[in-house]
Every structure is written in structure tokens, then in C-alpha cells.
Symmetry: C2
Subunit: 445 residues, 2 copies
Amino acid sequence: MTEPFRLTASQAQAKFNDGSLTVEEYAKSLLSRVEARDAAVHAWAYLSPELVIRRARELDQTPPEKRGPLHGVAVGVKDVILTNDMPTQYNSPIYEDDAPMIDAGSVAVLRANGALIFGKTTTTEFAATSVGPSHKGPKTANPHDPSRTPGGSSSGSGAAVGDFQVPIGLGTQTVGSTIRPGSFNGIYAMKPTWNSISREGQKLYSLIFDTLGLYARSVDDLKLLLDAFQLVDDEPEENFQVNGAEFALLTLPTPEWPEPGPGTTAALKKGAELLRKHGANVEEITLDDSLRPMYKYHLQVLSGDGRVAFLPDYYAAKDQLHYTLVDHVENRHKLSRKDQLKAFDELAAMRPKLDALADRYAAIIAPSVIDEAPIGHGNTGDAAFCGPWTAMHMPVVNIPGFRGENGMPVGLSVVSSRYRDQHLLRVCREVGKIFELEGGWKGEL
Amino acid sequence: MTEPFRLTASQAQAKFNDGSLTVEEYAKSLLSRVEARDAAVHAWAYLSPELVIRRARELDQTPPEKRGPLHGVAVGVKDVILTNDMPTQYNSPIYEDDAPMIDAGSVAVLRANGALIFGKTTTTEFAATSVGPSHKGPKTANPHDPSRTPGGSSSGSGAAVGDFQVPIGLGTQTVGSTIRPGSFNGIYAMKPTWNSISREGQKLYSLIFDTLGLYARSVDDLKLLLDAFQLVDDEPEENFQVNGAEFALLTLPTPEWPEPGPGTTAALKKGAELLRKHGANVEEITLDDSLRPMYKYHLQVLSGDGRVAFLPDYYAAKDQLHYTLVDHVENRHKLSRKDQLKAFDELAAMRPKLDALADRYAAIIAPSVIDEAPIGHGNTGDAAFCGPWTAMHMPVVNIPGFRGENGMPVGLSVVSSRYRDQHLLRVCREVGKIFELEGGWKGEL
């Protein structure tokens, strides 16, 4: 029998339903996995086995007719998202041991649906730097090669889900903080449409970009979450098949974006080949010249937003803030309000254009990251390829399945127009089967 | 000698500085005003005199060289904004006695600058309905006529500042929740540029509209606050004079907006006359036809945003939510994603157009409200005239000074383009002198 910790959330739920597994037994299996692996992976900023078991028992005691659609689904919560029974510390010395007694909107929805909030996962400082978690304790490592980064800023959620320590993780994304760790850890990662899930109680960096992110090891699990968050498309469910579908294979123009490395270049090529082999048409496209300033604008808006978001922390303890955040508050790069507004307005004008582009296809296939997870824990990698979908508010899923030159996972991004999240999952279910089976990466741990 | 509670914050600070008043003495004077008036006005959702006096003593004990720019400035905080030493209850039975031990970003900035966080002021439910505060206790009344509404949703902050119970109040605005009470209570109210002050820890309704609002009884006090929040324009300070300045007098087109009542019609006429008498040019304008759908789009985006924002509360206790919020979550009006996105994108496209319009003038003068505060406490009034500046992210100040047919205050809105908040205050300082002196309303209480 598969050890319970290896199950996806949906698989575990099937066992809760047929009575072959209790939530407590399941939680203990997850805790045993954490115990075995934590010294290598360090995915947790806070984890209380006693609290986990207490909550698991409460769930087991819930009468079947009162159990929610997420009954017993264990969730690691990025430590920039408030939880009313655990500290929220943001990997910042300013918030060490800080434990406000309040649930974020996302956590409240998960709990109301029966989820088991398992623990808090590591993050870069305020989810706003690309420097590996460093404030205290050892740095989070990639479970597939502990000498490499799991990515960031959602380092712990990506690593914990990739390492079978928990089936579901919450991340956040302001540039590439959900999708990048998804690719690096060989798992499904989803950034839904901007503002389709409440961001209340999630540390603020940018109002117009910050989005809750979701990690899982299957599309079924992502679907469970979208349904709990009541994401509904305009269109009814279609019966999507790869055979006969139209895809775009998007590369991003240089020098505005970096060149992909060999692992991602090979994944894009192989992904297109596999889709064609299964009967799809794949059109190679790039962005129109008018869209080239997108990433520059993204970073400009972010700088203006960081100026506001970190002012309270700056007043609290400027000397305990990462220098890039101090730079935001002090507007070190002398960004004018005029340029900030131009960037904000131009990005807004691009959004309907990208929707129209995406709607010509079943989905857009694009690179998730430059390449495999880099060696070392000091830098969590480059987020450039994730930026467009954050800036454009479009839903994106990282599908794992490919393999880099060093045997590490490489994923591809699959993208739809805004508020077609459920459609995107239907596409990803079929595409994911192909990429996982034939892409070349077997992520056994 | 003026009783301390009648002082503006800047005037009280002058007395702290010359040693003629302590923060404790000042706080006791404010508390005595509250005691005398609370039975009529009911502005407070939470107020602990013991806590106020303890905090005041701490401020008095701060050595002069460590005192902040807001030393001793007493602030009433709308009860949808988190405070780490008081409950935050949102006028919702779901959150009765809830006290999550965390400061909102705005409150943290104020405290770090030496402000005295005085108490929590009443709000409509989640700052998201126009129904008068009703969950528990008596309803907040207009201090100038307790048979009338103080407006909403920032009911208590507007009433408390208007009634000299506190010199500064924090509100929020998603349509007209700051400016409307400003006009109804005869005080200055400012909605700064969207996202120029951190909204972290402030109940979420709409990411793209929600803005922290500020109440005061003088422009000097608003300036104190903007400086603490580090709002900086691109342009250096100019020496603004009404004589020779160009203003626009804007009326909003019907039927997309309502007709103003007699009080507002007279205020607009008199305001223009006064500015002209003082040497300004005043051009009468209305919105271009392409901008007519603005308010419709505003309400559509709000409906989509409310669907997300109130889902956690809906799961927690649907039966304890106002039916309009349940309607949002259940999408009762069947708003499609397509229409929601169209509204979102079209509003975004309008923003640079409105900036360009505003930049042709020193400021735009526009109606704040339809008329004087209506009789009764069940409905907090119509927000239609406040909507454009919220939707367009533009800074707006309500300047008091006019008088309606029943002797109640009527204010006018003065508006600049985005991120010209400091410029706007310089204009309002001069315009406010004229309106207050010659507009006809003498708000003695």
C-alpha cells in the first residue's frame, strides 16, 4: 500500500470517504515524512505536530454530513498569510514570533471547507526579495537536490509539496513567486486570475499584481481548490481534447526578457512535439513589439507600490529591512509619479490585447523559468518569464514533466485569458497527462 | 481660553510644544466632550477612556527629542481598520468582540509618528452597505441635527470630527464613504490618490477602488497626515494663489448621475462666484460622452469584487451578512466575467483622460453630495457624485463652507490628477479660506 503521505489530496479524500484512512492517520503519516526529511529540506517556518493532530481529530469527529468539500485536505500556508492559530513571521526579524489572531480570507475559506491547516512554510523576506530565506535557521533546499534552491519567494510551499510533506501549498505571486518554485520542484503550480481569490490577510506588496498561488501534485487537487474558492468561468464546461486543439507556443522577445537556458529550450521543443504528436496544432508566436515594455513597466509599478507597502515596516525598523525594500520606500531609483502612472496605465491597456491573443488558442504554452533550479540557496532564481501573466492578470499553471541537463525538473507554463481558470484546468488535465508520461522527468523521491 | 477639544490637531501640537498643554490634559478634554455628546451622536464602536489616558501618559513621557511629527494627534479609527489594542468589529455580528492584535499599515504609520489612537468609530456593515449602522446599539447621528444621518460608511469618523470629539478621523472610500460624511458633517475630508497609503489591514471590498480616507477640521491637519504617509508629488511646492488661477466647475451628466438638490446647486453657484470674485477664472464643464458609462462600470467592478471579498464571511455565516453582500457572492445580478472585465478595462482607459482634463486647471470643483444630510438614520445617502474620483484614483478633498435649505452643511469636492495630493492641499488651503469665510455656513456646535 502507498504510504498515505504520497497520496494527492483527492486520493486521500477517497480513502477518508471509504473509511480506509482517518485524517489523524493521514496527518501522522505527513508528520512522519516531515520528520524524515526536514533536516534536508527545511520547508517549515512553523509546524506544531500537536496542533496538527488536534485539528485532525476534530475533523475526524465531524459527522460525515457536516464534512466540507476539502475535508482533511492538508495545506501548507506560506508564512506571509495570516493564520489565527499559528505565528506569521514573514521571514523578517521585525515580526519574529508575531501571532495575530486572525485568518486570512483564503485560509478562512479553506477551513470553512474542512481543510487541515498544517503549518507555515518558509518565504523570502515579505515575499518581496529573491534572496533565499535567511533571517533565521537553515535555508530551504530543493528536495530533488538539496544543494539547489527550491525557488522563491514561496520556497517552503514549493519544496514541501514537491517533497510529499503536504499535498497542497499556498503561495503568493507578485512577479514569479508561485510559478518559479513550481517548475523548480517538479509540481503543479497555479496563479489564478488576479483578484479571483481574496487576498485579505496576505502581506501586501503590490495591490495590482499580488495573487494567491496554489501548489499541488495533480490537476484534480487544483480543481478541488478552485471550486472551494468558487471560481466560475462564463463558459460552460467543455469536453477538452488535445487532438484537434490549437495551441500557441510563445517565446518572449530579447533583450526585454532573457534567453531561456538549455533545459527550458528543450522542454519547449519537446512540449510542442508531444502536443503535435497527439494531434494538436501548435503555432509559434512571440509578443507584438508594442508589448515589449511590459516587464519594464511591471518593475516600475512594483517599485512605486513597494514604496507604499513597506512604509509601515520602514518606520518600525528600517535597519531590519532588506536594502531593496528600503530602496523602494526611499525611491532610490527616483521613479517619477508620471512614469509610475504611465507604466500602470500602459499595462492596463495591454490586458485586453493579451486576452484577445489567448482566446485564439486553447491555451498559450510558455516558459516557466530560465532553466533548472540553480545551485545554492542564496538566490531563488529569475522570475522574468513568470512576469507577463502576473502583470496581465491571466491564469497560469506550471505543468511539470521535463528534465534539465542535471536531471532536475523543468516545467512549462500554460496560460489562458482572464477568468478562464476552469477552462485552463481542463486543458491542463489533458496536457499534463502527456507531459508527465512522455516529457522525460520521473520525479520519484 | 478655547477648550482643548476644540483645537485642531496642529493647534493642539503648538500647545504641546510650548508646554501649555499635556497630551493627557488634551485627551481628558476630548473624553469630556465625548461624555457630554455621546448620548446624542453615538460615534464610537469602541472607546476605552483608561486606554486613551494610558497612551496619552506614555506620549507625555516620551522625551521631546524622540517625539514624532504626529505627537499627541488624536485619531478616531473607522472600525474596519485593524488596531492591535482594540477590537475590530466591522458592525457585523460575525466579528462581535473580535480583536486580532494587529495594526493596519495606516495605524502603524500613525503610531510610529506619535499619534494617539483614540478609539474605533462606527461604520456601516463592512463599510460596504449604505444602510445606517444597525447591528447593535443606537445609530450614529449627525452632530448638527441628530435627526439626520452623518452619512456613511465612515459614519462615526465623520460625526466625531464634526462634533469636536477628536480632531482627526480615518475613513475608507470605495464609492463615496469618506467624502459624503465630510460634506454632511461640515468638515474637511480627503480621499488621497488610490494606493498612495497602505491599505494593509483595512477590510477589503474592492482592490481597485478601496482607499483610506482622512478627516480633519483644517487643511493644516490634512497636511500633517500626508507628510507622515510620505505622499510626495513630482512637482516642487508652488506658491498657489486663487487670483489668476484656472478652475473647472464640473457638473456630472444625467441620467448617468442624479440631479443635484437645491443645497448643492446653490453651493456650486456660490463657490464659482466666490472664486471669480477673488480673481480666478472658472470654466463650466461636463464629462465627455465617452465617459458617461463610468459609474455603471464602477458598480459592475464592485459587484465582481464583492463576490470575492465577502466569500470568507459568506462561508462563516451567510445568514449574518447583509443581503446585498450575499447578492454579491451569489452573483445575483448575473454579471458575466466578460462584462466585469470590460468595465475594469474601460475604467483603466479613462484614467489618463481624466488626469489630462484635470491638469488643464488648478483643480476641478465638483459636487460632493446630492444635498444636505437626509433626515433619518436608516440610509446614509447617495454616493454617486463621489464615485468618479474613486474610480479614477484621483485625489479629492471635500471643503466645507456652504449651507443647505435646512441650515445643514454642504461641501464641495476639489479634485486633482493622480499623485498631485500635495498640490491639491495647497489649492484647498486657499480655496478653503474663502469658502469657510464667505460660503455662508457657520458650524458652531
